[in-house]
């Protein structure tokens, strides 16, 4: 069944910007209606101010524990020696490169389908953070590859598909800023983000589909982990810490973006009155 959303743009004095008001009676279902509860920037800012410290401080604490454990307390690998400690940075960065892209795609979908005004802003802020973590993943992979493989880079399926992911992030950032009309930029970037989702299964299964120099998955949902528990714990702790940090960064940047939009709206309103 196809639902037609009835909406209009209206100037909202409280938020000092133009908002898309959706006729609640025309909304298709309760889930999408509840999403629009957070379309109000004032409500989002109040909620985000409460959530921000609950992400930031645990992220710092968990990361400190995980990194110290990984760097000084976990054992060296019998084959790789101490270079295995690069794993505690590389694996969380790789996880966040993919998970960040999933969140970017979800925000883009919400922006395209429901025209959620905060989804545009969130997608715009996820892009640079995701690109940074993908860059860290590629760089630390090179730093791990040089002593283990004898080379900084190979055109292996896993490495190449992650490089494509990095370019997708950069393309998204560039498209967001390429148009004078920010709405058109957001829509074009959202379409790119959704098309790029096809790269995620390629990254995941590249080590199974092709004969790659990159090792296979050590941790799976169905099987026992392929590493000792003394290495697994610091890896999981670092992954949780970096994930909380990623969320804290995106939330802080989205808060700033909402405030900047409100400032622009207020200045435009002042200019119109003058």
């Amino acid at each position: 069944m196809v639902h037609q959303l009835v909406s209009r743009w209206t100037y909202n004095a409280w938020n000092s910007c133009y908002l898309r008001v959706v006729d609640a009676t025309a909304l298709p279902s309760r889930p999408s209606r509840s999403l629009h509860r957070f379309a109000n920037p004032g409500r989002f800012l109040r909620l985000a101010r409460v959530v921000q410290p609950w992400l930031t401080w645990p992220a710092l604490l968990v990361l400190a524990v995980g990194l110290v454990w990984g760097l000084f307390l976990s054992p060296a690998d019998w084959q790789q020696g101490d270079s295995v400690r690069i794993m505690y940075i590389h694996v969380p960065a790789a996880w966040l490169a993919s998970a960040g892209y999933v969140s970017l795609a979800v925000a883009s979908l919400m922006s395209l389908v429901w025209r959620h005004p905060l989804a545009d802003l969130a997608a715009g802020e996820i892009g640079p953070v995701g690109a940074s973590f993908t860059g860290v993943c590629l760089a630390t992979g090179s730093l791990w590859g040089k002593p283990m493989w004898g080379t900084w880079w190979v055109w292996d399926a896993r490495l190449t598909s992650v490089l494509v992911l990095f370019f997708l992030y950069l393309g998204h950032i560039a498209l967001m800023r390429a148009f004078d009309d920010p709405v058109r930029g957001s829509r074009a970037a959202a379409i790119l983000a959704l098309v790029g989702v096809v790269n995620l299964p390629i990254i995941k299964f590249s080590v199974d589909w092709w004969n790659t120099l990159h090792q296979g998955n050590s941790i799976t949902l169905t099987g026992a982990p392929g590493m000792h528990v003394d290495m697994l714990w610091p890896l999981l702790i670092c992954t949780v810490g970096f994930t909380l940090g990623f969320a804290a960064l995106v939330l802080a940047r989205t808060r700033a973006a909402v405030m900047e939009r409100r400032i622009r709206g207020l200045l435009m309103a002042q200019a119109e009155r003058a």
Binding site: L71, D82, I86, F133, G135, V136, F242, A256, L266
Partner: protein
Amino acid sequence: MTHLPFIAAAYTLGVGVPGLLAVLSWRRLNLAKRRLAAIDPRMSR
């Protein structure tokens, strides 16, 4: 510790890049808060 330069470089990147992003985000957020408080009196309540 074997391969120390590689490990040190990886940890510098792993801590430095998110740390730099955090500092820039914090500064941007504070600037936006100050500018908004200056032009929107409701924000200073």
